[in-house]
């Protein structure tokens, strides 16, 4: 592990990471990688987010979709747990609520494969001080 020794180190690291995070461990085809984030705070896990995350990882691989599934913290929509965020290459991120395995399957088949929207999208109701997040919504 390289240590961050100076301010310059941190700046350099941040720039590298920003590129990397942007396509999230892109692999060989950053332009075709689907990114999925699952809200995995205590509340999400209690509503079954862990099962959904495992399902998404397994099914996306089985169905041959180039994708990266990661966990994240609470998105704030406790009433609609489990919640996931899907970013198709070249598209803005979309958040879906009440995602059980059945819904996850529908999202893979309709949205991820065909770009077709499905019911249950949660509109982003906040602004964040972080610009790329602010602009990152539909």
């Amino acid at each position: 592990m390289t240590k961050v020794k100076t301010l310059a180190d941190l700046k350099k690291l941040r720039e590298e990471l920003q590129k990397k995070i942007h396509v999230r461990e892109s692999g060989d085809h950053p332009e075709s990688t689907v990114q999925v984030k699952v809200a995995m705070a205590t509340c999400g896990i209690a509503s079954g987010a862990k099962d959904v995350m495992v399902f998404l990882m397994e099914e996306l691989e089985k169905r041959g979709i180039d994708s990266v599934v990661t966990q994240t913290g609470c998105m704030g929509y406790c009433y609609a747990e489990p919640t996931i965020e899907v970013t198709l290459p070249g598209h803005e991120p979309l958040v879906f609520g009440f995602v059980d395995k059945k819904k996850a399957d529908e999202i893979i088949e309709k949205y991820i494969k065909n770009g077709e929207l499905v019911d249950g999208i949660i509109p982003i109701t906040y602004q964040s001080i972080n610009e790329n997040q602010e602009e990152g919504q539909q």
Partner: protein, 597 residues
């Protein structure tokens, strides 16, 4: 493969559903089919837009046009004008209340977003177990800035000028606290993070630790630099296992990167963090009790002064701040005191995270600028009351806070306004109560909690709260008298005045605020022996309306105590002396013959 060119998003939040958004969806779909557009345009039902007052909401993509107050009758015009001819339906656009202009620019659509995320900026965005993702979002940049560009005193000034106040409940100036700790002379100082979130229904701090642990670590290190401490401690309750796990991972990663440990950023500054676990006692959220618990002593408060900033953990100067307070520090350092103090009200700056719970549609975590009204939080972001019931009160500040009612809904939320209304900010729990909830029972619930959580050190709190609880119990059993109400008030005042710590000094607040705002409910209990909300079991009577009863015997068969008698096909009767008011007969009766009063 179907590729829709246009998407029409229709809000399917509970608020909009009650304004008939379901019919709107089907009408839109029918219109599309009639015009042969259903292959090109898709109608999608979404969650709540948080703009319920103007519902139902319709958003057309990719044009990003936002229509408000759309009725099923408007579907034809939207399809005929917007979708087919590409002309916006002017009359359905949102009118800015100030400028009276119709909002056209899709970029300006943020106007309706009442939430602003500062403390929660990374929650639900980064992987909390990856320091790389944190760094990519400016993690540790504020620490780097203070270590390489600012002196400790300059940093304290920034925090002071930002106007940030403690988010744990007290609302003490954070910068001032830092300054006092910095000025205290000692060979060793400590930085403590109070993660002993104990209010029932509050989960803000847990969510921050679970979603963005690095921001707390970074802010504690900044505080260490400012105050001259090289040791940080996070006091966290053992009942938050996931938060603990993620915090441990984050600390380990920060050490590996050299962001914790010796000679950080090559500046000679040393800082490291350890965890201390609490057993989940409410009183340990009080800073002196918290410190004693960390020292291995009983979690009991001691008299202040001396304040922890002068004499804290192991007798050394200790800066104690809450999780959310720390989460605000890095953005303040990076964006400046002026930016932060431009948000909020005159005396309360920045934002506040609330855990919205109870009888509200969109239960969740929200972060709003100080000065936002309760109405906006509950009816816009929260999507209104569940089941279209009537709003009765909102409880803020947990067991130390109070109830606010309809008349308080338009007051801008900040520390001072809430106190003026007889409640308090507290850590940010917000529990919504509707017409079905009994306020006396609610006060009793909080007193039950306080009695359980009182450490027992001082008599007013240990004995007084127990007596308060007993009086409330008598009242909810229908055995209270008018004199009991005076007794409640007097005892409450005494407990407030004579208790040692914040727990006892605030524990009667739920009683006092409900007495002030809902005296009629208390009076109904003690004078008429009735519970207007129908929640106090002992005050209810179940009876059968002879006209509706068909003598099906269903109620008699379900009654667990055989309190219902009657022959088949004849009117049944409930024996009030035997009835235990379980409500089974009411649920079972198909003929609306069972009544409660």
């Amino acid at each position: 493969m179907i590729k829709h060119k246009i998407h029409i998003l229709v809000c399917g939040g509970t608020g909009c559903k009650s304004s008939n958004s379901d019919l709107l969806v089907s009408t839109l779909r029918n219109e599309l089919i009639e015009n042969g557009l259903d292959k090109e345009v898709q109608v999608v039902l979404t969650g709540c837009f948080g703009f319920c007052e103007q519902g139902p909401i319709v958003k057309v993509l990719p044009d990003n046009i936002f229509y408000v107050g759309v009725k099923p009758d408007d579907a034809h015009e939207i399809i005929a004008e917007h979708i087919i001819k590409g002309r916006k339906v002017q009359r359905l656009l949102y009118v800015d209340p100030k400028t009276k202009e119709r909002i056209q620019d899709a970029k300006g659509m943020n106007f309706y977003k009442k939430q602003l995320r500062i403390a929660l900026r990374n929650c639900g965005f980064i992987d909390p177990e990856s320091i790389d993702e944190s760094i990519a979002r400016d993690g540790y940049a504020a620490l780097a800035k203070v270590l390489t560009e600012l002196t400790p005193a300059e940093t304290v000034q920034i925090v002071k000028q930002s106007g940030l106040r403690g988010r744990g409940g007290g609302g003490f100036s954070t910068g001032l606290k830092w300054e006092i700790t910095a000025k205290s002379q000692a060979d060793q100082k400590y930085v403590v993070c109070n993660a002993d979130e104990g209010d029932p229904g509050a989960f803000m701090d847990r969510s921050i630790l679970e979603g963005d642990p690095h921001t707390v670590i970074e802010a504690m290190a900044i505080n260490g630099y400012c105050t001259g401490a090289d040791k940080g401690l996070v006091y966290i309750r053992a009942e938050y296992p996931l938060a603990i796990e993620r915090l441990k991972i984050a600390i380990k990663q920060a050490r590996e990167y050299g962001l914790l440990g010796q000679d950080i950023f090559g500046t000679g500054f040393n800082f490291d963090i350890d965890l201390r676990y609490g057993a989940g006692a409410f009183v340990c959220g009080e800073e002196t009790a918290l410190i004693h618990s960390m020292e291995g002593e009983r979690g009991e408060p001691t008299f202040k002064p001396p304040f922890p900033s002068e004499e804290g953990y192991l007798g050394k100067p200790t800066n104690v701040n809450n999780v959310e307070t720390y989460a605000n520090i890095p953005p303040i350092i990076l964006q400046g005191a002026e930016w932060f103090s431009s948000i909020g009200t005159e005396k309360s700056k920045g934002t506040k995270v609330f855990a919205l719970a109870g009888k509200v549609n969109n239960v969740g975590l929200v972060e709003v600028p100080m000065g936002t009204t309760l109405r906006e939080v509950i009816f816009e972001i929260g999507g209104g009351i569940k089941g279209n019931k009537k709003f009765k009160a909102v409880q803020t500040g947990g067991p130390s806070g109070g109830c606010l009612t309809e008349k308080h809904l338009d007051i801008p939320i900040d520390y001072d306004n809430l106190i003026a209304c007889g409640s308090m900010m507290g850590s940010g729990g917000m529990i919504i109560v509707d017409e079905d909830d009994c306020m006396v029972s609610m006060a009793k619930y909080y007193l039950d909690f306080t009695v359980e959580e009182s450490c027992g050190k001082c008599s007013p709190c240990r004995i007084g709260n127990k007596r308060l609880y007993e009086i409330l119990e008598t009242i909810t059993k229908g055995k209270g008298t008018v004199e009991d109400l005076d007794r409640l008030r007097n005892l409450s005042e005494v407990i407030k005045d004579t208790s040692l710590c914040g727990l006892g000094q605030t524990s009667p607040n739920p009683v006092l605020s409900t007495l002030d705002n809902f005296l009629d409910e208390y009076e109904a209990h003690v004078k008429d022996h009735k519970c207007p909300a129908g929640q106090c079991r002992d005050l209810m009577t179940y009876w059968i309306e002879p006209e509706n009863c068909v003598g099906c015997t269903a109620c008699a068969r379900v009654c667990p105590v055989s309190a219902i008698s009657g022959e088949r096909k004849e009117v049944h009767i409930i024996d009030a002396a035997l009835c235990i008011k379980c409500g089974a007969c009411l649920e079972k009766c198909k003929f609306n013959a069972v009544y409660v009063s």
